[in-house]
Symmetry: none
Subunit: 141 residues, 4 copies
């Protein structure tokens, strides 16, 4: 089984944060989850508010559990808010259905997900895409 590695996760964290600094974003927090939705790596930059782990994980958790990126989740939430609310109840309230939640694929296989938070959702997603690509993997926003 192809599983996201410790080394890939470290590259994703480092390069997502580097992209954020290059773009001039606010302090970011980045989580990498494995294909089961469990934390593999996390980093919160200085100056980010204390509750950022839950937001980053929420973006990535929904991606893994539903098999769809944050942008697709947001579209569903806007079309049918009660459905995503109900899904969230089923997942213990851990899902944040907005951009910045990114599936991580190795070829066609989902091997994990990344959640980025701190700036606008679109900027969060852009930084995360750069991080995933720097690790030689394929993001699905």
């Amino acid at each position: 089984m192809t599983e996201i590695t410790h080394q890939q996760a470290e590259i994703i964290l480092r390069e997502t944060l580097a992209k954020g600094r290059e773009m001039g974003l606010k302090p970011l927090s980045v989580v990498v989850l494995d294909a089961g939705g469990h934390p593999k790596a996390f980093l919160r930059e200085d100056g980010a508010s204390p509750g950022r782990f839950e937001i980053a994980r929420g973006k990535a958790y929904g991606a893994v559990m539903l098999g769809m990126g944050g942008r697709a989740q947001m579209a569903r939430a806007e079309a049918q808010a009660y459905f995503m609310a109900a899904v969230n109840g089923a997942y213990g309230g851990k899902v944040i259905p907005v951009p910045g939640g990114l599936l991580v694929k190795d070829g066609d296989t989902v091997i994990g997900a990344v959640g980025v938070t701190g700036d606008t959702s679109d900027n969060d997603a852009e930084a995360g895409i750069a991080g995933i690509e720097a690790a030689g993997l394929t993001p699905e926003p």
Copy 2:
């Protein structure tokens, strides 16, 4: 180390309640949280309903955890209701995203938050701002 002190918290409680009486508000409840969202001080005036601790804490908790005051949270909730609902799930249902939740800053550093409840949200916020300023600190509504 810059951390909200016991003495600052007592001033904030006393002066927020004094402002509320001066404004002729209904009985108020006021909580002071530290920069990690943990209660430092609380007072509920006679005549306030019994569940006011949770409301006061909810206003202040979201402020600390997200790094934004209650007025900014309310704007986000009105623009994208499902997002704030999801955030609240991620924080165990402890967030009340309305005015009356105020970040407390010492210069540029967030050292805690204040939550006020009992009258209208706008009046709650006005009383809390007076309390924070009386302690020589800077409120962010």
Copy 3:
């Protein structure tokens, strides 16, 4: 109905902390709950660890909900641990059954409870008793 007042609560906080300082105790945290188990007032001294609200409330909450002080709860927990564990499940995990949880009586009527934490359970209780008596009320440890 006799209900603990805002003013009595403030006296209890102030005098419990004064007693702690007189006894040379570690930094204390003190909560006052009303007769329904809901927070009326709380203060955490500088230097106390951040999680002290939950411990203080847990000591006082069990006292109010069960109508017995922390010392009596501890005796029950030591005689029949599974019973107090089950009670705690029924109360959402909010009970800490040790000394430092004190019923507050006005004559024969329970009007609230006090929870003190920070030093040994026995010292916590001694400080709380002094605070309740200073308010002209009767503690039940």
Copy 4:
């Protein structure tokens, strides 16, 4: 302001894992929490079981919230099991009271905590101590 930094957290992760490899330990997982108990950084080595984030955080969370290291918590749990069980209920079940939970001090000030899991509790603690010291900070086991 004294707060654990992103850079200190990265040193702690890297050096704790390096110590684990030097000692020949099983795959480790390491979390760094800030002084409010909120995740700052986390890494889980390849081969560690998926649920290690919760164990690592549980060891560190109790340390921060109670202001005592895992070894002291374990002593209390062994002397008075129902007390630590009750404390855990009050903290939403997030406390794991065993060695490997380490307070992080800068001089006398608690600035965070580290949780290490994967090998025996004593080995976990030894690796974490090395990581904290490598960052120029003081561990309290």
